[in-house]
């Protein structure tokens, strides 16, 4: 019907952010987990520092279990997945049952993964379903505005994560460029000055990553 309420535009945006957060954090965890098998047993400390999340874990095993599954840890992949789900489940009329099904499948995969001896294998199913979700968003959602709001959330989240991870200049530049192109296609209220500042920051040497994160998080106006 072509009209989107304030509540739903917000949910679409956060669905984009949380689905990206689950996807990227699952992939980063996989890299870190590999190092912790036999190379750097305490790599989780580096991981927490990079993502700027509190290191509340007492061992590699504790980290592997809680960072993935702990429903009381707000930074766990589970918590972020449930936030994506909470936003998706109330958007059936905007995005349709098929896209929501892929988020639902992530939730089932996550629950099944609780008892797995090789958590990376289970996480792969979550990554696969998030990728399928994004694919079906492009393929099945006819309303361009809906697609653009979800993708704006996704782009902001990725820029935020790249800022925290101190990604290389090329990656940062690419993400700012993609975000600028996408957000302009929505009717979301955003601060154009901050977008200009982001472009400028990406050219500075050294890059002020903290400022990139701060600007990405406040770019969209309520």
């Amino acid at each position: 019907m072509g009209i989107i309420s304030v509540e739903n535009s917000d949910r679409l945006f956060w669905l984009g952010r949380y689905s990206e957060r689950v996807y990227t954090s699952a992939r980063l965890f996989a890299d870190s987990f590999d190092k912790m098998i036999d190379m750097d047993l305490e790599n989780y400390e580096v991981f927490c520092a990079q993502l700027d999340i509190p290191n509340i874990y007492c061992s590699k095993e504790d980290f592997c279990r809680r960072y993935i599954h702990d429903e009381n840890d707000p930074n766990s992949i589970y918590s972020n997945l449930m936030r994506a789900y909470d936003n998706a489940v109330v958007l059936r009329n905007e995005i349709g049952s098929e896209p929501i099904a892929y988020i639902q499948l992530c939730v089932y995969a996550m629950k099944r993964n609780r008892t797995a001896s090789a958590p990376i294998v289970g996480l792969q199913k979550i990554v696969d379903n998030i990728l399928a979700f994004w694919g079906i968003v492009d393929d099945m959602i006819e309303n361009e505005n809906i697609r653009n709001i979800i993708k704006t959330g996704k782009r902001i989240e990725r820029l935020d994560l790249y800022g925290r991870l101190q990604a290389d200049r090329e990656s940062i530049n690419r993400e700012i460029h993609r975000l600028a192109g996408r957000i302009a296609k929505t009717n979301l209220h955003y601060d154009e000055d901050k977008l200009d500042k982001l472009r400028g920051l990406a050219e500075q040497d050294p890059i002020d990553y903290d400022e990139i994160v701060a600007l990405a998080d406040t770019l969209r106006k309520d």
Partner: protein, 439 residues
């Protein structure tokens, strides 16, 4: 009936239902939980001729109920003619004084009726309950059919079954029929409502907009949907899935935070259709149920095609005497309760419970109805791969536009407990598809 291939696909079907989030919400210990609604692949099968009989009876019943509501909030002839005693109308919790004199768009009150029936072992169908406020459940057999067809195409190729997936087309057609001009909205209390899946599924399938009360606003006697850029669009029909008392805090329960202030004034002025009409509760009160065959005769000049379960009103002295004499053979229902709550089988009460109940019955006779226990037909379900008989009812759906339309399917709910007659999902029941044969 070749349902064997489909029953072999039970696991696949239930996995796909889980994939699409076919759930209902339930509060346990003050905590909201989403649960999958267990689906049994053995369908209820209704022959073409038998359904034609049901269809005729259901149309007749819903037409009479629509006439009754119009009359009660209009001329009140049925009361003046002493067919229904006024005590049963005005003290009903479903009667809303604010609806008096208000005529809804196109004169339709019972847009969506969910009529609960059971089939006795004598093959007779009995109406157990009329649900005329916000009956739910049609989405479940509809999506289950979609998935069963994918999982076992041979079953549907080799049996002549009426396709039930047109329900949302009927729904949309009915909503457009009463729409006063503007968008169509499905109003939900939100995600933590037991039937939220259904609200969102119907919005998706009908193309209506799903909204909560905070997304709609009343201005200058019209209802508007406000989008995120501040644009306002007029709304002409609201399929509201919230109950009367929460619909408008300015007219009904002033503490409601899920309704829309002043929406009732917009409705009263004929500027929006509310589906179903507020005040319908007066006609689906368990006490009023007793009078439905009399309504059919009064308004339509016909005998009721579908029977009520034999019912007694302790309010009447003669009935009260019968209830006391045959107490152990009856099921007692509190008229204010729903969802399978407030239903007690007298023969299962302890001596103390019986004494307490009889005292209450003497004090508040209007509060209860008593019914003969219908020994209804069992339907097989699959439990661990083995067929087992269980009690089941049928909720038939009748949509009303210029005339009533009966959906050729229905929600068959069953009890998973072998000793129970209670089939409600909130009490652990499951559901089946209802096949109406096309020849």
């Amino acid at each position: 009936m070749k349902d064997f291939e489909l029953t072999r696909q039970s696991e696949t079907v239930n996995e796909l239902l889980a994939r699409y989030g076919v759930k209902f919400g339930i509060y346990k210990n003050h905590e909201f939980k989403e649960q999958l609604f267990p689906f049994d692949t053995i369908p209820r099968v209704i022959e073409k001729e038998e359904f034609a009989y049901l269809e005729k009876g259901l149309k007749q019943r819903v037409m009479a109920l629509n006439c009754f509501i119009k009359d009660i909030y209009g001329e009140k002839k049925i009361i003046k003619d002493k067919v229904v005693p006024e005590e049963f109308v005005y003290i009903s919790s479903g009667y809303l004084a604010a609806c008096d004199g208000v005529v809804p768009p196109k004169g339709v009150y019972t847009h969506i009726a969910g009529i609960d029936l059971v089939q006795g072992k004598n093959k007779e169908w009995y109406v157990l309950e009329d649900n005329l406020r916000v009956p739910s459940g049609a989405s479940y057999p509809m999506i289950a059919r979609e998935i069963c067809r994918r999982s076992s195409p041979d079953t549907f190729e080799s049996n002549c079954i009426e396709d039930n997936r047109y329900y949302t087309k009927l729904l949309r057609w009915m909503m457009d029929y009463v729409n006063t001009g503007g968008h169509t909205v499905i109003l939900t209390p939100g995600r933590y409502n037991a039937a939220y899946f259904e609200h969102s599924y119907f919005a998706e399938k009908t193309g209506a907009h799903l909204a909560t009360g905070s997304e709609l606003t009343v201005e200058d006697d019209y209802l508007y949907f406000v989008d995120y850029s501040g644009r306002k669009e007029k709304v002409g029909a609201v399929y509201r899935r919230i109950s009367d008392e929460y619909l408008d805090p300015m007219t009904f329960n002033e503490e409601s935070v899920i309704g829309i202030p002043n929406i009732y004034d917009v409705y009263r002025k004929g500027h929006v259709a509310l589906i179903n009409a507020p005040g319908n509760g007066v006609a689906d009160d368990k006490g009023i149920y007793y009078f439905v065959p009399k309504m059919i005769s009064y308004y339509l000049g016909e005998d009721a095609i579908l029977q009520n379960a034999p019912t007694y009103l302790p309010f009447y002295e003669e009935d009260r005497k019968y209830v006391l004499e045959h107490f152990d053979e009856l099921v007692l229902k509190d008229v204010a309760e729903a969802g399978g709550y407030g239903v007690v089988f007298a023969n299962k009460m302890t001596a103390q419970e019986k004494e307490d109940f009889l005292n209450l019955l003497q004090k508040e006779p209007r509060r209860f109805i008593a019914q003969e226990v219908i020994d209804f037909m069992d339907i097989d379900i699959l439990e661990d791969g083995v067929r087992k008989p269980r009690k089941a009812d049928l909720r038939a759906f009748v949509l009303m536009a210029d005339e009533p339309m009966v959906w050729k399917s229905g929600l068959t709910r069953f009890s998973r407990n072998p000793d129970s007659f209670i089939v409600n999902s909130s009490q652990g029941g499951g559901f089946k598809d209802t096949w109406v044969l096309s020849r």
